[in-house]
Amino acid sequence: MKRKMLSLGLCAMMTASLLVGCGSGNTEGSAENVETSGELTWRIGGIGPTTGGAAQYGQGVMNAIQIAVDEVNAAGGINGYQISFNFQDDEADPQKSVNAYNTLKDWGMQILEGTVTSGACAAVSAETYNDRIFQITPSASSTSVIEGNDNTFQICFSDPNQGTVSADYIAENGLGTKIGVIYDSSDPYSSGVYQNFATEAANVGLDVVATEAFTSDSKTDFTTQLQKCKDAGADLLFLPFYYTEGSIVLTQANKMGYAPTMFGVDGFDGLLGVENFDVSLAEGVYLLTPFAADADDEATKKFVATYEESYKDTPNQFAADAYDGVYIIKEALEAANLTPEASNEEICDALISEIQNVNYNGLTGEGMTWNDKGEVSKDPKAVVIKDGGYVSVQ
């Protein structure tokens, strides 16, 4: 009897662990700002995590698209037609993201600006490719998002680019001599950045003394990884993952009395917004971003002011990417001279060819251009956290 119960229990445990993986959370789709008037409009959909571990990205993206859409609508719309915008929450989960996509498709979406995170985006871009819906993602940086899909474009720089630029930046500025790396081996974004960082680090002669990994099942305990980096004498930690885990790493490193230079990539944007996180631990953390809210050009100032006024928060780079996204779509649609009467496939094909001719000056870069693979060409900037804010490094 006992043995029977035991095997039963083990079966249950395995089933439960499966469920844990796929069942992470229920979402009520958050239909924001849906216009239901019968008037013909451009239907632009957005998907991203407005709740969950990457919520700051989704919220930033949603708010910024709304600002841009309002601006465009106030200025007369695109080719004389107003934009309707509908944003759905996916909690950064691929399955929920596809559900959100189906909801938007039922709503009649013509163009998708999303999704926000790489894992979810790869799942959705397979769907948009089949359905021939043009997709531009503000922030999903993995190459898996655009690979094999002619209809998906990125506004953020891709993972290879981030990994390479990070290694170059660390080497040029002599930020560290012995480098430790911790990355999430279960996440395409994190491992993508890491692989390119490792390659470039070898090229520029950086000494990587420790390479440690964690997975989505064990992303709360970093003490062992930190201890190994510490024992290896790493004086700079390269941390290509998201800010939620970032806040834990910083807390645990502090408890251990280990204080190397911390260098994150764009996933660290949002670190200062983690609820109840002691932001003094983030002092001196470097991160890579195409956008700094303290920049003093006119466009950035105006965007930051509007954002702060509407949402009582400082926009992050994802918000800026998303804001640019709306104007990039506008520019491409105007060049193609389309109206919302066109079918999704016509819009998709026209935008694929037009976006490659666009040369866009936005918040996140001057002279942004796209190649036929869907990658953007622009320059990342490094920012450092000082006195509880992001400050550009010259």
Binding site: S24, G52, S185, T224, S247, I248, G257, N276
Partner: protein, 293 residues
């Protein structure tokens, strides 16, 4: 020095597993059911501590006491509503109910607290010890966790062995019907077991989140599964088994991360479990009970 640090980290992680495993093992030993909602009671406990401490500014000890009280009540309610009506049902039905309760608690937490993770302030305000000229640093969290685990474990063993309710527990675990005939209130004993297990879950939640400061509605799932593994590993139904299983699991996990591969750690932990169960199907301290035909 590195090895000692890893060992202490492993003991600390293992102690948390052991406290959680106690909840599984006691309920299994007495009610012969697997309470999969246990991991989620931990999460609720951690949220209660967080709300009392960070939002209301209460001292850590008071917060933990409140959380223990609330979780105890929660445990009794869950038992009364979800498990008691199924006392005569098949094991499978109870198991599915337990998974249902687990999801209910998770989704309830999602509704109340939202899915944004919060950074948990440690309940332990002590820097810890610095030995061997700063070479070996033991955090206050680790020390308090290990000591709490040992105190709970020995307290519980004493309780089960020497008190009336404890004896009733042992009697019910051996033979429910005979215990009823001897005048033991089986239902009250099972409720008491749930109450103790859930109260311990609150402590486990506070300790878990103090060491690994990230709290969201899924915080309890993975540690819950690992602790269940620890309970099976040590011999489910046995209190010292939970201690040994928990500590071993924690140490194996940390050492595997440190010396073999940080990516393979989980795979190694579960591989060890399979090997142990192949050699000794009842777990390390599990007893083979002969079925009476």
């Amino acid at each position: 020095m590195g090895f000692l640090t890893y060992l202490i980290n492993g003991l600390s992680l293992g102690s948390v597993y052991a406290i959680i495993a106690l909840g599984y093992t006691m309920v299994y030993g007495i009610a012969k059911m697997l309470n999969f909602a246990h991991g989620d009671v931990i999460m609720i406990g951690a949220y209660l501590v967080f709300m009392c401490m960070s939002n209301s500014g209460l001292p850590a000890v008071v917060s933990i006491v409140i959380a223990i009280a609330c979780c105890t009540v929660l445990g009794i309610i869950i038992e009364k509503i979800a498990y008691k009506p199924l006392r005569k049902a098949t094991n499978l039905a109870v198991l599915i109910t337990a998974i249902g309760v687990s999801y209910f608690l998770q989704n309830m937490a999602l509704l109340i607290f939202g899915s944004n993770p919060v950074s948990f302030t440690s309940v332990i305000n002590w820097e810890g010890l610095s030995l061997a000229g700063g070479q070996l640093k033991i955090t206050g969290n680790a020390i308090v966790t290990i000591i709490t685990c040992l105190v709970i474990m020995f307290g519980l063993m004493w309780f089960v062995k020497n008190t009336k309710p404890g004896q009733a527990m042992r009697a019910v675990s051996e033979d429910k019907d005979a215990a009823t005939l001897m005048g033991i209130n089986v239902n009250a004993t099972i409720s008491l077991t749930f109450a103790i297990g859930s109260g311990l879950a609150a402590i486990a939640g506070a300790l878990l989140c103090s060491s690994y400061p990230n709290l969201n509605p899924y915080t309890g799932s993975m540690p819950g599964i690992k602790a269940f593994t620890a309970a099976v590993f040590g011999g489910i139904g046995s209190i010292p088994g939970a201690l040994i299983g928990g500590l071993l699991l924690g140490i194996i996990e940390i050492l595997a991360k440190a010396y073999i591969s940080s990516q393979l750690a989980d795979a190694i932990v579960f591989a060890v479990l399979i090997i142990v169960l192949l050699v000794k199907p009842t777990g390390i301290l599990g007893k083979q009970i002969k079925e009476k035909v």
